[in-house]
Amino acid sequence: MGMWTWFHRLASPPSCYRTAGQLKPWFWIPAVLLLGYGLGTGLWFAPPDYQQGDAYRIIYIHAPSAWLSLLAYTTMAVASAVALVWRIKLAHALTAALAPLGASFTLLCLVTGSLWGRPMWGAYWAWDARLTSELILLFLYLGYMALRAAYDERERADRASAVLAVVGLVNVPVIHFSVVWWNSLHQGSTVIRSGGPAMPTSMLIPLLACFFGFTLLLAYLACIRLRAEIVLRERKPTWLVNQGRDHD
């Protein structure tokens, strides 16, 4: 019972707003430290790759972006399902907050993938399974944001886009499978190997640091946006006056 009352209290907009604000430094400070180490090492201190020279360093941004794009979308879909089943408005707020963030990282993943492609196999774009799947994911994000924008009432927008998010997530494995299948049929000259054989620890540790750092960074950004979304959904946020405005 104690767990349930804790959850219930958290699920109220004012306390969620406050908690998100309190969590912010717990997210951004470790994120800066981890990314400082991970990206700094990735950029300068890790040894050049045996096959790809220095171009592989893009992986320190490309791989975490791909991870974040999927993490954000999955969280959006799970939150949407929770919002639809249990009618928790806060879950809608979380989904709305994550959408532009996830889309940004998807775009970042695609562009860095493209920039990586140029030195690697000479072309800015290749229709390989991973990049194509990522592109479809971007369209899923854009579709979600387009549907949300087409509604004038926020509550309706929340519910309709929540259904779309769940439908999208259910389809992601199918879509990914079909893209991989399609790609295997048309196996051309471009076979993309990310990092080649098993990564040496000197490269792997900074990469893991980047993964964790970027995840914390997403959490931090999500906290900021979530607080905005919470306030936008409140009809009479009298509790807002009593909150000191948290500064970053």
Partner: protein, 57 residues
């Protein structure tokens, strides 16, 4: 340690990616913070309007 100039022709792509990442993150941070600020201002205005109206519908 890899010298800044030693990356040769790949340098543009690598540094470009890092720069792009900084831009994406920075832009998202700025836009999110701005959204929060505007939301709070809008809410405060709504609350003030309610108070001056006296009767809340």
């Amino acid at each position: 340690m890899t010298e800044i100039g030693a990356m040769g022709s790949y340098g543009v792509y690598v540094y470009g990616s890092y720069l792009l990442m900084a831009v994406v993150v920075g832009l998202n941070w700025w836009l999110s913070a701005r959204r929060e600020r505007l939301a709070i201002e809008q809410a405060m205005r709504r609350l003030a309007a309610h108070d001056t109206k006296g009767e809340t519908p």
